[in-house]
């Protein structure tokens, strides 16, 4: 009896040394590591209707002995493209894979030079990635090109204060490929009148495709006084390259009563990515947390403009200095649409 207790006491600590699945730094080992990490952490398998097991069989058949790193990279990148997700990248020292069809199959609907030359006359103020000016129609215009660049509450105050006599505001986030979600939140807080349900987040709870958490409600709080809250009409301009954190900004703002979305469907990218790595040192980034909007709708494939306000940039008119999307927004704000 005493001996049994002693054995148990010695074996318990050994049982507690938890194992971690190891992969060899070989062609097969790296391929298996990549497939397994995506299999265990990617959050959109069901939504994308991807048969990941079938992908494993199909792409693994393309591996061969003596395969070069570059050839392996190509096979792996092609396999990742099956996910059709702009948040999925494979990074090596010679290349970064990137799924582009979420925007390359659509018209760009944006020309930065057109705005700067014909609407702003190259005369605008800048704060980080934001340019802002007052249009001749007495409408405030902010072009926020990347949420990688942070704007503090005081920066946003400065812009809104500059627009204090304007009849409305245009926030142009075409070609804004996203960045930090906190930057989306910082900007939203100046436009929401009260604590607002921003959406839901669902994360993986285990390696299975269906191991998903229950939706977690997350809220944004309005900006506190003395910071400036904006309550006049707002039009947000979008295109397919409005992605990730910028897509999140639209997903929250679209339900505010004084906000309309004008332009083209956003690029989506509602998954929050996490990073992992392969034995050979390559990095893998993939969506692991799904963010739904306040109505519980996934925006992974994009958000449509407000009904009746889908507009494309007319390339012919663009040649003569007219941005048809911006023109639509100006007309809308002048029309007393509220």
């Amino acid at each position: 009896m005493n001996r049994t207790i002693i054995y148990i006491l010695f074996l318990l600590p050994l049982a507690a040394c938890h194992s971690i699945e190891d992969f060899d730094n070989t062609v097969e080992g790296n391929f298996d590591a990549l497939w397994t990490m995506v299999d265990q952490h990617y959050c959109f398998f069901d939504q994308k209707d991807v048969d990941w097991d079938e992908c494993y069989t199909r792409y693994k058949a393309r591996l061969y002995d003596g395969m070069s790193s570059q050839a392996l990279f190509s096979v792996c990148a092609e396999m990742l493209d099956e996910l059709q997700d702009g948040h999925v990248n494979l990074s090596s020292w010679f290349n970064t894979s990137y799924y582009t069809k979420w925007w390359s199959d659509y018209p760009q609907n944006y020309e930065a030079r057109l705005i700067e030359e014909y609407y702003l006359n190259f005369n605008y103020r800048s704060l980080g990635a934001a340019k802002y000016a007052i249009l001749p129609q007495n409408i405030g215009y902010i072009n926020y090109s990347s949420f990688e660049s942070s704007l503090g509450a005081s920066n946003i105050d400065a812009m809104l204060s500059y627009f204090s006599l304007c009849i409305g505001l245009i926030i142009d986030i075409r070609d804004n490929g996203g960045g930090e979600l906190t930057n989306s939140e910082r900007l939203c807080r100046h436009f929401i009148p009260e604590r607002t349900l921003a959406g839901y987040m669902i994360n993986k709870t285990g390696p299975g495709h269906d191991d998903l958490s229950k939706p977690f409600e997350y809220y944004f709080d309005p900006i506190e006084s003395p910071h400036i809250a904006w309550s006049k009409p707002v039009v947000i301009l979008t295109n397919r390259s409005t992605f990730s954190a910028a897509n999140n900004f639209v997903s929250v703002m679209q339900y505010l009563p004084n906000v309309k979305i004008v332009g083209a469907r956003t690029g989506g990218g509602s998954g929050i990515p996490l990073n992992m790595e392969l034995p050979c040192g390559w990095g893998i980034r993939m969506s692991s947390v799904s963010v739904l909007d306040a109505k519980g709708i996934s925006t992974e494939s994009g958000i449509d403009p407000t009904p009746g306000y889908a507009v494309d940039l007319d390339p012919v008119l663009a040649l003569s200095g007219i941005d048809t999307i911006l023109e639509s927004a100006i007309s809308l704000l002048q029309s007393d649409w509220q």
Binding site: H18, F23, T182, K204, P273, P279, G281, G283
Partner: protein
């Protein structure tokens, strides 16, 4: 005249009181021994191994460094048989992945306080075992990760702590060989959900972050073997510190192992208060 009489009586009373007090203090000095505080200040350098599947499935290896303060003293209530030990440790690791193109850092702080029942098995050999409470916290940081760059660690545990100590003389130099181990038995510890990002926690998704710790999901064995070389009033401590940690919760596995060489000094501090006369005092050391 009357006042002078009262004055003499008061003086006698004062003298009697003082003598009584002195006698009492003398008696206390006999019954209450002096309990030196043994303080050890050590630093350690060695190898560190980190793995945390929240950050990466790969194993990182590199350098481990640390500082440790340890305060040991015989307990007041039963100094012959009980000692208490307080320790404060700060350590860190800088490690690389197998491809050597990413760096993971680790910084941890641990506080522990425990008591041990000791037995003197032979004039130079003693053993002790007892309970301890530990608080630890820190984080791993992986520079290549964007939204999941860090993995926070935090735990409050009730531990078993024990030691074996043997004193002898080597080439005329008195030395004490000591092995001490500490093993959490039960407690609570922090872990995010399998795929949960810290941004979600920041937004208020705090459900299920604290877990009950037991050997099956939280194993930590802290081994410290030292040789204290007594050079007169100064003691040099040399040793080996091995820390093995492994946890598994929410389908996440973390494993840290460090092996390090320890060097430091050990001092005995005696607090002399009134009534404690050192030459006659009975001194009960924790060692």
């Amino acid at each position: 005249m009357k006042n002078e009489k009262y004055g003499r009586m008061s003086l006698w009373k004062l003298i009697v009181c003082l003598l009584s007090a002195l006698a009492g203090w003398a008696q206390n000095a006999e019954t209450e021994p002096i309990r030196p505080v043994t303080s050890a200040y050590t630093t350690e350098v060695g190898t560190g191994h980190l793995a945390d599947t929240y950050l990466t499935p790969l194993h990182y290896n590199g350098v481990h460094v640390g500082l440790r303060y340890e305060r040991t003293q015989a307990m007041k209530s039963n100094p012959e048989h009980w000692i208490m030990q307080l320790s404060l440790g700060l350590w860190g690791d800088i490690t690389k992945n197998p491809a050597k193109n990413a760096t993971m850092g680790n910084a941890m702080l641990q506080f522990s306080w425990g008591t041990m029942r000791r037995w003197t098995l032979a004039p130079r050999l003693s053993l002790g075992i007892g309970p301890a409470i530990s608080l630890s916290g820190g984080c791993l940081y992986l520079d290549r990760n964007g939204n999941n760059p860090c993995s926070a660690r935090g735990a409050v545990t009730i531990d078993a702590i024990g030691y074996a100590s043997y004193s002898h003389t080597l080439w005329g130099l008195p030395m004490t060989l000591r092995y001490q181990a500490q093993l959490p038995a039960i407690g609570t510890f922090f872990s995010p959900e399998y795929g949960q990002l810290y941004y979600q926690i920041y937004l208020g998704d705090t459900e299920g972050l604290v877990h009950t710790a037991w050997w099956g999901n939280y194993f930590l064995l802290d081994n410290l073997a030292t040789a204290d070389l007594h050079f007169g009033a100064t003691t040099l401590r040399l040793g080996y510190h091995c820390r093995i940690f492994s946890s598994k919760v929410n389908n996440l596995v973390a494993r840290d192992v460090s092996h390090s060489f320890v060097i430091g000094v050990v001092c005995d501090w005696i607090s002399l208060t009134r009534g404690k006369r050192l030459p006659d005092a009975r001194i009960i050391s924790a060692y």
